[in-house]
Point group: C2
Chain length 235, copies 2
């Protein structure tokens, strides 16, 4: 079952259709000059809020959460980035410290590009800066949506939206035709929907009773995406 036509997934996805593809040969070469490929373990922190950025990360494999931790230790997931997306470039561009933290949701392979190389290419390449402008302004619309939903909609709807978005995020790696498995802790689900672990559990039970999904352990399979979209009350 496809989402197209029933849910505007692009409003929830940064979808940086790879900032680096088809860059001028020279720019690309310079970016990759000192790039370093690293393997990250599940749950490993990539960077923390408040640190100075040393470069940017490009996701080659796996999924990454971007999140903020408030002064009550509560974690809020801002965005889930997947294969092909850039992470950690906002701080470089704004010249500020990291505004949020990033950690892997599973084993990941990341490409690290040092600050100097990235900034140098940026200053020379009109292409790259135009793409980043496009990407950032799209991201703005995604975050605006989130604000509106978090501020105005009840938890049940927010969790429904989170599940719809996650289903897309977990598509990659699932063989065509097979069911998409959402594999994420209840804790992370809660901090994505902006609620508590217990509430997520209770709502998932409701959704199960309404035959919208099935669960086994932490794993979730969406069974009726259309009804879930209805529950989300979004658009």
């Amino acid at each position: 079952m496809s989402l197209s036509g029933i849910f505007p997934i692009n409003r929830w996805d940064f979808k940086s259709d790879s900032v680096f593809t088809n860059l001028p040969e020279e720019d690309y070469a310079r970016l990759m000059q000192h790039a370093r490929k690293d393997r990250y373990k599940k749950g490993q922190v990539i960077f923390r809020e408040g640190n100075m950025p040393g470069g940017i990360y490009y996701i080659l494999e796996g999924r990454v959460k971007k999140y903020k931790v408030d002064n009550f230790e509560k974690e809020q997931i801002i965005y889930i980035a997947a294969e092909g997306e850039l992470v950690g470039y906002h701080a470089l561009l704004s010249g500020e410290r990291y505004p949020d933290a990033a950690a892997t949701l599973e084993e990941c392979v990341l490409l690290f590009i040092p600050r100097e190389d990235f900034m140098q290419v940026l200053e020379q390449s009109g292409q790259l800066s135009m793409r980043l402008l496009k990407m950032l302004s799209h991201e703005f619309s995604v975050l605006s949506n989130s604000i509106s939903v978090f501020a105005q909609r009840p938890v049940r709807e927010r969790l429904a939206i989170a599940l719809i978005v996650l289903r897309e995020k977990f598509k990659k790696g699932t063989p065509e035709g097979e069911d998409i498995t959402i594999n994420m802790s209840r804790e992370d689900l809660a901090s994505m929907a902006g609620t508590t672990r217990e509430n997520v559990v209770r709502l998932l039970r409701q959704f199960k009773d309404e035959q919208l999904l099935e669960t086994k352990g932490r794993k979730i399979w969406i069974r009726d995406i259309r009804k879930l979209v209805t529950v989300s009350n979004y658009q």
Copy 2:
């Protein structure tokens, strides 16, 4: 009483220290070539979500709200822009429709710069695109903050934050030394704090009883910004 040291206001302000100041003469001239200065009445809509952008707006006078209306007609204010700030450029940059709407909070004077002129300068001027990148990535951090607060913090704290931010926004136009008057409908305050009008009223009463502020009609004067920061529980 200054905020510096007690509240990180820059995390709530786009503060585009005028994107246009000190641009190369030629770029500036081209931007202004067909620019049009218009007066807007209080409450007038500048653009609506979903429309195609025709250009960008630069605020010469007054304050503007950027907001989203969900499919239950509920309005959520994403940001309050003041004198010297740009409005409506995200859609131009992303090549999409307006992701949100904008309306004046009071009588305003706006400078409209047509799409073509803006895009042309953007493609030629490394300066302008670098400044926009910086601005957009800072905006990202502001919106991330909002998400975290809306998703995790109770209404009382959210309203406290809104009031602190508004006090800064309404600084301009207040003679030095005089008290800053926040002048905004309860309805707008509610959609800024992500709650209902009635709740705003009740919380304002609490704040009055706690001698944090005074009100008269719709007008609000913060009397104890330090305590209000404490109430906000932010940082």
